[in-house]
């Protein structure tokens, strides 16, 4: 009896000293969650703060009391901003130009990517590398010469200038993503289609585009995000409210407008951020897959 107890104890202690794999995993899990919660608070505080501010009246904001909380949400700012004709113009301009650029981007990048992935021609490999390098060229390197180019084309202070310059931000990477997706389609699939009697365009339209649809979704989201969020080009090339888009419009026009009303500005901020956030909420997986494939597969 006593012997049994004596032997049982050291075994128990050994278990406690050398944690089992299950226990180790549990610890790792807890630690992981603690780190995650810490960073989630840090990451989400600013957007939360914007939302809270947007839900306050000017008096509440001005009082400086408890900036992180409001007991009685006030929706006047949202109504105010949605009915604001300036804001409506910004929003419509952004939607219009973004959609046009997204369509242009897809057309250009899918055609080019198909040619580069499947129809090898003289210099195609070097050109594909060149496309990738173009993607690395930042807009802040080019906005000054482009200002001269656009002045020459009489497009300064016209929303349409963005249709010209935004594709330089979106097309190279979208082409890169699509080259990756098209290359991952087995060659036998084209050969089967070739034997089935498909021409190049039929092959692209009926085989490649449907099969690479996840890549096309990723490219679409990328193009959308880049255009919707771009700030430098509209700020540099657009001056008047009628031509303005959301980012530059909110930052320059609303702030330098009649009254500096933070409730209004933050409501505008929230409304303007909503479309990309909503798109991500639904299509995040496609986008991440496309992005990581683009960066890792090359």
């Amino acid at each position: 009896m006593s012997g049994a107890v004596a032997t049982a104890e050291p075994i128990g202690r050994r278990n406690w000293l050398k944690p089992s794999i299950a226990r180790e995993r549990r610890w790792a899990l807890w630690a992981s969650y603690i780190v995650l919660v810490f960073f989630a608070i840090g990451f989400l505080a600013p957007p939360y703060f914007e939302l809270v501010t947007a839900l306050k009246t000017s008096q509440q904001i001005g009082s400086g009391k408890d900036p992180w909380f409001t007991a009685h949400p006030y929706f006047g700012n949202f109504i105010g901003i949605i009915t604001n004709p300036d804001f409506q113009t910004f929003f419509l301009n952004t939607v219009k130009v973004t959609l046009i650029v997204v369509v242009l981007t897809l057309a250009m990048s899918i055609l080019a990517a198909y040619a580069l992935a499947r129809m090898r021609f003289f210099g195609s490999h070097a050109f594909a590398t060149g496309v990738f390098l173009t993607y690395l060229v930042p807009e802040s390197l080019l906005f000054i010469p482009l200002f001269k180019v656009l002045s020459f084309l009489h497009l300064i202070n016209s929303t349409w200038c963005l249709v010209l310059v935004w594709p330089t931000l979106s097309v190279p990477f979208c082409t890169w993503i699509m080259i990756g997706y098209f290359s991952s389609i087995p060659k036998e699939l084209d050969e089967a289609a070739m034997i089935d009697g498909a021409s190049h365009l039929q092959m692209l339209w009926k085989i490649f585009i449907p099969v690479a649809l996840p890549g096309i979704i990723a490219a679409t989201i990328f193009a959308f995000t880049v255009c919707w969020g771009d700030f430098l080009y509209p700020l540099a090339y657009l001056f008047t409210g009628k031509q303005m888009v959301l980012t530059a419009g909110i930052v320059s026009d609303l702030i330098h407008g009649d009254v500096l009303d933070w409730g209004h500005i933050m409501a505008a901020n929230v409304v303007a951020s909503a479309p990309p956030v909503i798109i991500y909420a639904f299509l995040m997986d496609y986008y991440i897959a496309g992005l990581t494939a683009g960066a890792t597969k090359g």
Binding site: A192, I195, D196, G197
Partner: protein, 366 residues
């Protein structure tokens, strides 16, 4: 009438690598021909040249009497089944099979009728609405065949279609392919690296190696009368044993000298055939089934010997035994009723009536 003819067909890449070297081949209408050989022997390249997926460097290929060298694949009226099936992942089984017909602007009713017919032959009628992702390997294989059948092409081309299946399914689909061929009787060219597949499927087997055709013939003929050492070793499993030796005359008897101690008499029926090779280095080729436990020693040209067994492999209906003679590894096939264990010495007999003699210099069977 869709015979396929290859005349001096060559394929080279970058001037240096010659994948296929001036091969000639005549495939008759309704014939099932299998191209077999180790990887890199040029069999797939040959098939792809027939399909029009590879350009021909030199020579002529004609299908149904028509020169097709410069005809793009879609106009050659062929259908191909690929190793990885190459099913269109975004289309249903029906659409996969109908795609080629739709592109050729067939009327809808005929497309449906043809697809249904193919589905009936292949027993995939219940799968027509599914996408390839929802199919098993064997089902995908059937759909890939269905896609070829519906076209009613002049020639079927198969590129190692069974190599992605597990062993059991492979055997099953092999039968299936044979049945389909018996049903539709379309000229078929089939590529595989698996000699068992080649033997079981083919009307005629084409054995290729290093870009040339080693031998063409019906399966049994290749097995019993190989023309080259390569064919002798490639066809049959386990492979034929090769023992290096020297052809010598001792007294007035033609003998195969393995070592000073081991000499085998050449069967009298073959003396005339072999005597020109006297004093040559030769290889004796003998299949495992002719190296057996000691049987009826009175039979002419059966030599008895003792084998020191290295490994035994019981297979159920037979036991494979591995042993060495004069440093050469040999494999024999004995009856399971004989007790044989590794490490033991087993009296065995070699039936020289079935031997092959290979000229060691040319690699040709004498």
């Amino acid at each position: 009438m869709a015979q396929v003819t290859l005349r001096k067909v060559s394929k080279s890449y970058d001037q240096h690598v010659q994948a296929v070297k001036a091969i000639d081949l005549d495939i008759a209408d309704e014939e099932f021909v299998v191209l077999v050989g180790p990887s890199g022997c040029g069999k797939t390249t040959t098939l792809r040249m027939i399909a029009g997926l590879e350009e021909i460097t030199d020579g002529e290929i004609s299908i149904a009497g028509e020169l097709v060298n410069d005809v793009p694949p879609r106009d050659r009226d062929i259908a191909m089944v690929f190793q990885n099936y190459a099913l269109y992942p975004h289309m249903t089984v029906f659409d996969n099979m109908a795609f080629g017909l739709k592109l050729r602007k067939f009327p809808r009713a005929e497309i449906k009728q043809r697809v249904d017919e193919a589905a009936r032959i292949l027993d995939i009628g219940t799968l027509l609405a599914r996408k390839p992702k929802a199919l098993s390997g064997g089902q995908r294989q059937r759909v890939a065949m269905g896609r070829a059948i519906v076209r009613h092409p002049k020639v079927f081309l198969f590129d190692e279609p069974l190599s992605n299946l597990d062993a059991k399914l492979r055997v099953q689909m092999r039968t299936e392919i044979k049945k389909v061929h018996q049903a539709v009787r379309t000229t078929t060219v089939y590529v595989t690296h698996d000699q068992v597949e080649a033997m079981t499927l083919a009307d005629r087997v084409v054995v290729m190696n290093h870009g040339v055709i080693e031998q063409v013939g019906p399966p049994q003929e290749l097995y019993h009368n190989p023309l080259t050492r390569f064919v002798a070793g490639f066809i049959g499993s386990p492979a034929m044993n090769f023992v290096p030796c020297r052809l010598e005359t001792v007294g007035n008897q033609l003998m195969l000298r393995l070592t000073d101690e081991i000499r085998l008499p050449v069967p009298s029926s073959r003396v005339d055939r072999y005597s020109p090779y006297k004093d040559h280095n030769v290889l004796v080729g003998i299949r495992p089934e002719h190296l057996t436990e000691l049987k009826d020693p009175a039979k002419p040209n059966v030599v008895r010997f003792d084998a020191h067994l290295d490994v035994t492999e019981p297979m159920g209906m037979e036991i494979m035994v591995h042993f060495r003679i004069n440093g050469t590894e040999l494999c024999g096939r004995i009856d399971p009723s004989v007790r044989a264990e590794a490490g033991e010495i087993l009296p065995m007999s070699a039936d020289l009536n079935h031997m092959h003699l290979i000229d060691a210099d040319t690699g040709r069977v004498v």
